[in-house]
């Protein structure tokens, strides 16, 4: 078994659900592995807490929810405080550095990757691209989640045609961020 658990979390409107769907589909249709994506969100369409879990496994996925996070991709302070206890000891954090201040709970992480995803997105004309910049950053710095090829393929079919080009640029910028 090689179960990997990824949680994306932030606030409604950041495209957290889309991150989960893109990753889940890229894994399940592009990588020949199994993946289950589940979402949770509050009643508000924007501003409330939002999270999306992707569980990846070469075997059957017996438990569909994430409980012991290998990767925690976090884009709001509220989501950080709420879910940091779920990060596995030795897990990895990807953080939107302008929106989240880490505390001592992050010490259990093996690695912390920081990116100003929203600023990068704003430089492209809209903060809406922040999620995809983060996805590019995640993809570039991990080797057991998903290939760039599978992710790009899904992005081209699942993102509305008129937004694809800008999102591809955002992905690239995230990928190149050091």
């Amino acid at each position: 078994m090689s179960r990997v658990e990824v949680r994306f979390a932030g606030f409604g409107g950041q495209g957290i659900g889309l991150m989960g769907r893109l990753l889940g589909e890229a894994v399940a249709l592009g990588e020949g592995k199994n993946s289950v994506m589940t979402q949770s969100y509050g009643p508000e369409s924007r501003g409330g807490a939002s999270s999306a879990d992707v569980v990846i496994d070469t075997d059957d996925i017996d438990f569909p929810k994430a409980t012991d996070l290998d990767y925690f991709v976090v884009m709001s302070q509220e989501a950080y405080s709420k879910y940091i206890p779920k990060l596995k000891k030795g897990g990895i954090i990807f953080v939107e550095e302008d929106l989240v201040t880490l505390d001592e709970h992050a010490d259990k992480a093996k690695k912390i990757f920081k990116i100003p995803a929203t600023k990068i997105a704003e430089s492209l004309g809209s903060r809406l691209y922040a999620n995809i910049a983060m996805l590019g950053f995640l993809c570039a710095n991990t080797d057991d989640i998903v290939s760039e090829e599978s992710l790009l393929k899904v992005m081209k079919t699942k993102i509305k045609a008129r937004y694809v080009e800008k999102n591809l640029v955002a992905f690239q910028k995230g990928k190149e961020h050091q």
Binding site: S35, V36, M37, D62, F63, P64
Partner: protein, 386 residues
């Protein structure tokens, strides 16, 4: 699912990454469903939403009714109008439907009801899982009847078993329930939809005798009468009152015995053909887990973990909940020392297992009352407990 897929025909052949609710909708469309009548309710609303997008593009009809009572009445009517029909709801909506589900059973009307279970009773937990409507699917309506309810454990099965529900409802002429749950309904997984020509689609038998000689409730050895559609020239009589072979009310013990015995026996005598089970590592098992739906996934994970520790345990997954697999449980009770039933309710399937095990083995429920699912580790703990 993308807009592109929604433009495709009845069978959305190909690979998808989608939710159980959308998969159930697609399975229904692939089965030939052309009418959806419903009233949206969490956690089933995405089925209605998806059908509202898809049906108008394939010459079907979608109606959002004023409530669930009208919805079930509408799909019974649509079925008598000759189309395959369905609704989707959750516990509170199913509660409103049970009277007319009884009408569907008495009038032998094929249709499919999806219940995406949430925690109850009453309004309960609108957005969170329950498996508490197992008994309601069996006994919700009054009177004596047999029925069929099927429970998927993954997104692929939501498609496959929705289609199967339609096939069974058409073959045996009765309302069939697809008993899903919130977790399966909302989670996304891979779904592979085969080409149309690879699917087995069953449609109701039509009468072949001349209209003036036709008796609408006269069955052959199958116990299932052919069904004429209104407007085809045959007399169509539909009443919830006890009726004779002509469909006329006949309020006598003799007519009641004949009619009610037949609508029960058409299922009872075909149990072996209807019941679907998955047996996993049961051959040498000394402990058996019996589970269904979302709970069965964690149960399988627990079996795998226990086997690694050398514990002889296996899983019987109930794909068909009703009719209940009495004979299989009876056999299992001879073989194993203990049966454990993880379920997200306070003992509904456990009670059935106790009944069917005839006291020959220990039967123990592992209950969650709703809102959360078992982890494989929790079920493993139950297996390891002496």
């Amino acid at each position: 699912m993308s807009k592109k897929n929604e433009d495709s025909p009845e069978v959305a052949t190909g690979q998808h990454y989608t939710t159980g609710n959308h998969a159930a909708a697609e399975g229904s469309l692939a089965a030939g469903c052309k009418f959806f009548g419903g009233y949206p309710i969490t956690p089933s609303s995405e089925i209605a939403e998806h059908m509202a997008l898809r049906l108008p593009k394939i010459n079907g009809n979608f109606v959002q009714f004023e409530d669930e009572i009208a919805s079930i009445a509408g799909i019974l009517g649509a079925s008598w109008g000759g189309v395959k029909s369905m609704t989707a709801t959750s516990g509170p909506g199913y509660s409103l439907m049970v009277e007319n589900i009884g009408l569907g059973l008495m009038t032998e009307t094929p249709c499919v009801i999806v219940n995406v279970q949430r925690g109850g009773p009453s309004t309960g937990l609108p957005t969170l899982i329950g498996q508490q409507d197992v008994m309601q699917a069996r006994w919700g309506s009054h009177g004596d009847y047999e029925t069929i309810a099927i429970s998927p454990s993954n997104v692929q099965e939501c498609f496959d078993l929705a289609l199967e529900c339609f096939n069974l409802s058409e073959q045996y002429r009765l309302p069939v329930t697809l008993l899903m749950d919130e977790v399966i309904g909302h989670m996304s997984e891979r779904l592979v939809i085969p080409p149309k020509e690879e699917l087995t689609i069953i449609s109701r038998k039509k009468p072949t005798d001349p209209p003036d000689k036709h008796l609408p409730y006269k069955a052959d050895d199958s116990l299932v009468p052919p069904m004429a559609t209104a407007g085809e020239g045959y007399r169509v009589m539909v009443t919830g009152l006890t009726h004779d072979e002509r469909g006329y009310p006949d309020l006598t013990p003799e007519a009641q015995d004949k009619a009610v015995r037949r609508i029960n026996d058409k299922i009872r005598l075909n149990k072996d053909k209807i019941i679907k089970l998955e047996e996993y590592m049961l051959d040498d098992a000394k402990t058996a887990i019996v589970s269904f739906g979302t709970s069965a996934r964690a149960a399988k994970g627990a079996v795998n973990r226990a086997r690694k520790k050398g514990i002889k345990v296996g899983l019987l997954r109930l794909i068909t909940l009703w009719p209940f697999p009495d004979e299989k449980i009876d056999q299992l009770a001879d073989q194993v020392d203990r049966i454990i039933i993880p379920e997200i309710n306070y003992g509904q399937v456990t009670r059935e297992v106790e009944r069917a095990a005839h006291g020959k083995t220990e039967v123990k429920g592992d209950f969650r009352l709703g809102g959360a699912i078992h982890t494989p580790q929790e079920i493993l703990k139950e297996i390891e407990r002496n």
